[in-house]
Symmetry: C2
Subunit: 337 residues, 2 copies
């Protein structure tokens, strides 16, 4: 599974949907980018050029969008929500930089990684730098609750990374372990984006929005792991079946495993025995997982989490922000499975 659930590219059909979700916070999102640039490039010319590159490789600003919408959910978003959204996105970018360094990845979202451009040393240090700069900015807001949420989030992210290492090359990696992994690695960040956003304007909805973000994150990651099976590289920006190629065990495979015929199981075992599985073998296992119902089962789980996310919004007053948050749920699970 990829550390960064990649949203679809700008030219994809659902870009219009995302634009609609982001419309209520469009101006604030532009200010988030300025804040990110200010925070990331404070110390050195060398860091300046790296920071510029990182901002290029940003995704669709999905996490800042969630933070800003959450801050608006009570009707009175605070200006500091922009800084908080920038901090959340920078913490996210820091983890992506280390993910790429750990994976020796060459591309992310079609853009060369820091790792590929500047080498491994700079990537590790640059991740540390981004993280510490975001932390300095966070402390300067002098809000212990924000620090509490984000400190625990970064800890959960690293525990998720550890668990991810354990998910490679292990066909015994089970559903509970998978859910715990994606809760740490993906849901914690979306939950914290919403919770810290709520702390900047809608503190009475803090718990509901955290739960919303958490469940949305679970659906988001499952959807991403399904996309790895079903979409071709033109859409995801990475080769199809990439998780299988890297021997990463995700929900579609976990759900399929108990239902395989011996012949199907043989294909799966062959893939995990091959150090560099052939494209044909990967294609076989992708087909096997679909035939055995692994994709359908994973879709049902994603839809269950999506429903819980939507239900979490029920205590919020009707608002443009709430509507956009509800649309974000549809957006996450509608990514052309």
């Amino acid at each position: 599974m990829s550390g960064a659930p990649s949203l679809s590219r700008p030219d994809a059909p659902d870009a219009a949907v995302l634009q609609e979700i982001q419309a209520p916070v469009h101006d604030a999102l532009a200010r988030v980018l300025d804040e990110m640039r200010r925070i990331a490039t404070a110390d050195l010319p060398m860091i300046d050029s790296l920071g510029g590159h990182l901002l290029q490789m940003r995704g669709k600003m999905f996490r800042p969008t969630l933070a800003l919408l959450s801050s608006a959910a009570g009707g009175t978003p605070e200006p500091r929500a922009v800084t908080v959204a920038a901090i959340v996105e920078l913490l996210h970018l820091a983890t992506l930089v280390h993910d790429d360094a750990v994976d020796h990845a060459a591309l992310r979202r079609g853009v060369p990684t820091l790792n590929a451009m500047f080498g491994h040393q700079v990537s590790v240090i640059m991740g540390d730098y981004l993280y510490s700069r975001a932390l300095v900015e966070l402390v300067s807001l002098r809000d212990i609750e924000l620090m509490h949420v984000l400190a625990h989030m970064t800890n959960r992210l690293t525990v998720g990374e550890m668990r991810q290492l354990a998910a490679v090359d292990r066909l015994g990696f089970g559903e509970d372990e998978y859910f715990e992994l994606i809760a740490c690695k993906t849901a914690s960040l979306l939950g914290a984006a919403c919770e810290t956003g709520a702390l900047c304007g809608a503190p009475q909805h803090r718990e509901a929005l955290r739960r919303y973000g958490d469940r949305l994150g679970m659906a988001f990651q499952i959807a991403d792991d399904i996309l790895d099976y079903v979409e071709d590289s033109a859409v995801t920006g990475k080769p199809s079946g990439n998780d299988l190629r890297e021997h990463k065990v995700t929900l579609p495979l976990i759900a399929a495993l108990p239902r395989l015929t011996p012949a199907q199981r043989e294909r799966v075992d062959a893939l995990f025995a091959a150090e560099v599985p052939s494209d044909a073998l990967i294609g076989d296992v992708v087909a096997v997982v679909g035939e055995a119902g692994g994709l359908d089962a994973a879709r049902r789980r994603a839809e269950g989490f999506a429903r819980e996310a939507e239900e979490s919004l029920s205590s919020l007053p009707a608002s443009v922000a709430r509507t956009a948050l509800a649309d974000a749920v549809t957006y996450v699970i509608d990514r052309r499975w």
Copy 2:
């Protein structure tokens, strides 16, 4: 220059001096170790085994010693100083883990690095984990001033790492750049250890103790960089001339460069041109640096910083802690040059 100014080994003659410095906080130091273990091993069995290894590779607990002595400098150390000292040491260990990952180092203080034992991936993630766990613990103390000091410190450390990359393979790396580098990379940590210690019992001496720690750190790193030239591997735990081997430009060489004869300069250029310099060539350059007065000049700068460190203690009331802090200055610059 090594990221970790390594104190001498337990069997070295100055171990007795260190023991004397640590005597006033001996019991508290034992509690710091317990705190480190508690903080580092909170989440996973895998992390548990790694954490145990990390605690093994801890040094002489010099930073926690400084923090505890600083907290006692006003006569009323607070119990939370133990936790703060543990957080400072864990942040330090996190940077060492990433240093080793970046350098692909196999040994640190004679103990195999995490990098060598568990591979590069685990090292990067483990550093992140330690850092985030220390942060969670820090936030739970709910003291913005402590967070402020330690957030800025970690940022300075990463900027120092960046600057260090720029100090490799660059004979034009100058004295000002060197001092800025070690201020970020070493002095910031010792300064923050003393300042956060002061915040836990001696806040009226916060500024004096920060300055003390900062200047001590400058002397400490220069001494370490001198030791890399003059001591053999049995004492430092690493090969002599190691910085030269890695093309790292430190103060002894910087001070010697303008005074070299053409023949001496030719040796230096040859070393920096050789991808893997021979031991003989390294030995030549070590000798050249000494003959040109580079080591003497570096010693004078270290002694200057040491004097400033001692002077910073003048506003403190007489106490066992103050005496130990003064002894720490002597200890740092007396490491058998």
